[in-house]
């Protein structure tokens, strides 16, 4: 053992002994603080907690700064908390009870007369309990009295892609002018197909939308009224019927010399365009009502000839049946009458046909084919 070891051992033993026994001999106790606490009842605690506001949540929370160390311990009041003040309900003023009505002067109500009529049957409203479909159902056309094909509005033009956002240039709105009062009008309600009760169940939506149809060329039969007034409004008076041999010879001579007013067999001038013919077709279609035709007449195609005046008006007396197919004579007659009504009704003030091509539409042959309109 070296001297260093002895010194180290004595030093450590002395240190441990001081640590263990050093405080025993210190008679001055360390000072300590005493806090008084108050005891409250459970009801008071519940009332206090009930009045506390709900904690508010915040989506963004700043990083908390370390709290400064309290220099002085908070003082705790020894007094008991006062119980929360419960809101006292307002006492409504009680009015005096209504006086009992004097029924001595009242007359009993007259019993309503009930007619013994059969009740009107109403369709039961069926409540469908089902999960909400994720796809919307195909809208069903409402069943209405009128079934007619309707043109579909053209879609809005696509926006041109560019880096710079620009608004479309719009013409300046004209100054407001006084608008005369007019009755509100709307096209007659129509559907494009016959919807039976059995077919009214909604179906699933299509996976992709239908391509919109092209808009048919706008046409109004009344547009003829806007035409220049320089054209004759009425047909020239018909040549009086000739009588006698002398007149007959004169007529024959005039015809041979080309002086007759009868139309030439071959039309001259610029021919009709496809869009002009289409406009005429759409105009007559709008008045071709097959709703009251028999099932046999709906199977009958008729070809009808009509002579036209130069102002676009059909000459009713010239409308005649050229041929028919698909039905008997009775069905053909019904189909022809429906076609005749369509030609006359939609003429109104004249079809919008080009005046400079009158020689081409002086005589029109219309084929009315109801194949698409049949009951299927």
């Amino acid at each position: 053992m070296s001297t260093g070891h002895y010194i180290s051992g004595i030093g450590h033993v002395g240190l441990i002994g001081w640590l263990l026994l050093g405080g025993v001999f210190d008679r001055v106790p360390e000072p300590f603080e005493v806090s008084e606490v108050s005891v409250i009842s459970g009801e008071a605690f519940d009332a206090m907690m009930a009045r506390s506001d709900a904690p508010q949540t915040a989506t963004e929370v700043a990083s908390p700064a370390p709290p400064p160390a309290p220099e002085v311990s908070p003082e705790v009041s020894a007094a008991a908390d006062s119980p929360p003040e419960a809101a006292q309900p307002e006492v409504a003023e009680v009015s005096e009870p209504d006086p009992v009505p004097d029924t001595s002067q009242m007359t009993p109500p007259v019993q309503a007369e009930v007619e013994d009529t059969p009740p009107v049957m109403e369709q039961p409203s069926e409540q469908v309990v089902a999960l909400v479909p994720e796809i919307s159902v195909r809208p069903q056309p409402r069943p209405v009295d009128r079934v007619a094909p309707e043109p579909v509005a053209a879609p809005e033009p696509d926006v041109k892609v560019d880096d710079v956002v620009r608004e479309a240039a719009k013409p300046q709105e004209p100054a407001a002018e006084p608008v005369p009062e007019q009755v509100e009008t709307a096209p007659e309600e129509a559907t494009t197909e016959i919807v039976t009760e059995a077919a009214e169940k909604p179906s699933s939506a299509p996976t992709k939308s239908m391509r919109p149809k092209t808009r048919p060329p706008a046409l109004s039969a009344t547009a003829a009224a806007d035409k220049p007034a320089d054209t004759p409004a009425t047909k020239p008076a018909e040549k009086p019927a000739s009588s006698g041999t002398k007149d007959a010879v004169a007529d024959a001579l005039a015809e041979a010399l080309g002086g007759t007013s009868e139309p030439a067999s071959a039309p001259s001038g610029p021919p009709m365009t496809g869009s002009e013919k289409e406009a005429m077709r759409v105009a007559v279609s709008a008045c071709w009502n097959v709703g009251s035709l028999s099932t046999d007449a709906l199977k009958t195609t008729v070809i009808v000839a009509v002579g036209m005046s130069e102002n676009g008006m059909p000459e009713a007396s010239s409308i005649r049946l050229l041929s028919s197919s698909g039905g008997d004579d009775g069905a053909a007659r019904q189909a022809f009458e429906a076609a005749k009504r369509a030609i006359i009704r939609c003429a109104k003030s004249g079809y919008a046909l080009p005046r400079d091509k009158y020689s081409h539409w002086r005589e029109i042959e219309m084929t009315f084919n109801p194949e698409k309109m049949r009951i299927k």
């Binding site: 059969p118 009107v120 049957m121 039961p124 069943p143 009295d145 009128r146 079934v147 007619a148 094909p149 016959i194 039976t196 009760e197 059995a198 077919a199 067999s265 071959a266 039309p267 610029p270 021919p271 009709m272 365009t273 496809g274 869009s275 013919k277 005429m280 077709r281 007559v284 709008a286 008045c287 009502n289 097959v290 709703g291 009251s292 035709l293 028999s294 099932t295 046999d296 007449a297 009713a316 069905a331 019904q334 009458e337 005749k340 009504r341 369509a342 006359i344 009704r345 081409h360 005589e363 029109i364 042959e365 219309m366 084919n369 109801p370 194949e371 698409k372 309109m373 009951i375 299927k376």
Partner: protein, 442 residues
């Protein structure tokens, strides 16, 4: 590349539309394939009374005509408040411009007179307003004042026929089962009424259950099934005298679902014997029954074709109810129904082109029609319970029974056009079921 093709296609379409048709020769030719389906607007002013005794019939006859025509769904009446000119004389010329102005496409004028012998005389004319001419010739009906409704129906039939080209059905009647009492204890009796619900009368009392009345081809007799003897038996009732007699059938067996042949001499019906039901025919005057089917299944609801050569009926020989067609003399039958669900109560159209039926599928009942070979099946209705179709005399309208759901539900008669449009309830005094439409009255 794609943009170029699109541009070329657009240019081609533009050229096609705007380029002159250089090859046109002769008249301009246009083909019209699409029109509109809407009720035809018409006007029917009050008929002109030729004496004070006819005043009460003047407006009433016009009202019945208007109700008949508008009730078809094919016509729409223009109210008299819209009239520009009035009809003051039956023989005066019509101011077509005034009727064109209110878009009346057809105009019906008429006169009514009560003669000194008490006879009612009704005259009428129909005009095509836009063509400016009369549709057919004027007609006149003579009858008793008590039969003014029938005369109005006859005028409406004539107007309907002239405009549509097919026969009318307004001067017809319907025999049906009138029901009273709660759903689980119904009292049933036979009743007859005009097709529109007017003039309803009872033909039997409610002492026993009656089922399935069917008119004879000329409407003078009715076949029906009654439980009067405890078993279902077939009876023949004379409509005029309300006298009835039982159609002979083997004792202790159930006979039901009778229907006349088109000539009115033969009755086809179902006979149940030993748990098996087959079709039989017998002479309506009596005699032995002729067996048509012999399958170990239930064959019932037979109906003749208008020419009397074939019979359509329902059978469960394939496992569930389906429709079959066979010769009127029996023999091999051919199944015509092919869709899902069960088919029953087939009825051959008086025109011979369609068969109406009841279909049950997915818990719902339908009235439908199909071609006689089973093709082109179309369902016209759908509800909790639709059954028992019967055809109007012109084969254009079907009447049937619709029963509503629940303990408080009741049966009523409905009608529908064969296009599926114009579904409506037929007015009856109370609950009604099992209608049978008569032919047009003579």
């Amino acid at each position: 590349m794609k943009q170029t093709l699109t541009l070329l296609a657009a240019l081609l379409a533009l050229v096609t539309l705007s380029a002159p048709i250089s090859a046109q020769s002769g008249p301009l030719r246009i083909e019209i394939t699409e029109g509109v389906i809407e009720p035809l607007p018409y006007a029917v002013p009050d008929f002109i009374p030729t004496g004070s005794a006819a005043n009460e019939y003047s407006g009433n006859i016009a009202r019945v005509i208007a109700d008949d025509l508008s009730g078809t769904g094919l016509f729409r009446e223009i109210g008299r408040e819209a009239f520009i000119s009035q009809i003051t004389s039956f023989s005066s010329p019509v101011q077509f411009a005034d009727w064109k102005a209110i878009n009346a496409q057809a105009l019906i004028t008429g006169s009514v007179d009560v003669q000194s012998n008490g006879q009612l005389v009704v005259q009428f004319r129909v005009y095509d307003v836009f063509a400016g001419q009369e549709l057919g010739d004027g007609l006149q009906f003579v009858g008793t004042t008590a039969g003014w409704r029938r005369m109005a129906h006859k005028v409406a039939d004539a107007v309907y026929s002239r405009i549509t080209g097919e026969g009318g059905y307004f001067d017809s009647r319907v025999v049906y089962v009138a029901e009273t009492g709660p759903k689980d204890a119904k009292l049933k009796r036979l009743a007859i009424m005009d097709y529109d619900g007017a003039n309803a009368q009872y033909l039997t009392d409610s002492s026993s259950i009656v089922l399935a009345p069917r008119f004879s081809p000329n409407g003078d007799r009715v076949l029906y099934t009654s439980y009067e003897s405890g078993f279902p038996r077939i009876y023949v009732l004379d409509v005029a005298s309300v006298g009835r007699r039982e159609l002979a059938s083997p004792e202790g067996e159930m006979s039901f679902a009778p229907r006349f042949s088109p000539d009115g001499q033969t009755v086809v019906f179902s006979l149940s014997n030993g748990g098996n039901t087959d079709l039989y025919t017998m002479n309506v005057g009596g005699g032995g029954a002729n067996r048509l089917t012999s399958a170990p299944s239930i064959e019932t609801a037979p109906s003749y074709s208008p020419d009397g050569s074939r019979i359509v009926f329902e059978s469960d020989r394939s496992g569930n109810q389906q429709l079959y067609v066979m010769s009127a003399n029996g023999g091999e039958s051919q199944r015509i129904s092919s869709g899902q669900g069960r088919y029953g109560t087939p009825v051959w159209s008086p025109r011979g082109d369609l068969i109406a039926f009841t279909k049950q599928n997915n818990g719902r009942f339908h009235i439908g029609v199909m071609r006689v070979d089973g093709s082109e099946e179309r369902l016209l209705t759908a509800s909790f319970l639709d059954e028992g179709p019967t055809w109007a005399p012109n084969g254009r309208v079907i009447m049937f029974t619709r029963e509503t759901q629940g303990a408080g539900g009741q049966a009523n008669l409905h009608s529908v056009d064969i296009s599926g449009r114009n579904l409506k309830m037929v007015r009856t005094e109370g609950a009604a079921s099992d209608p049978a439409w008569s032919p047009l009255q003579k």
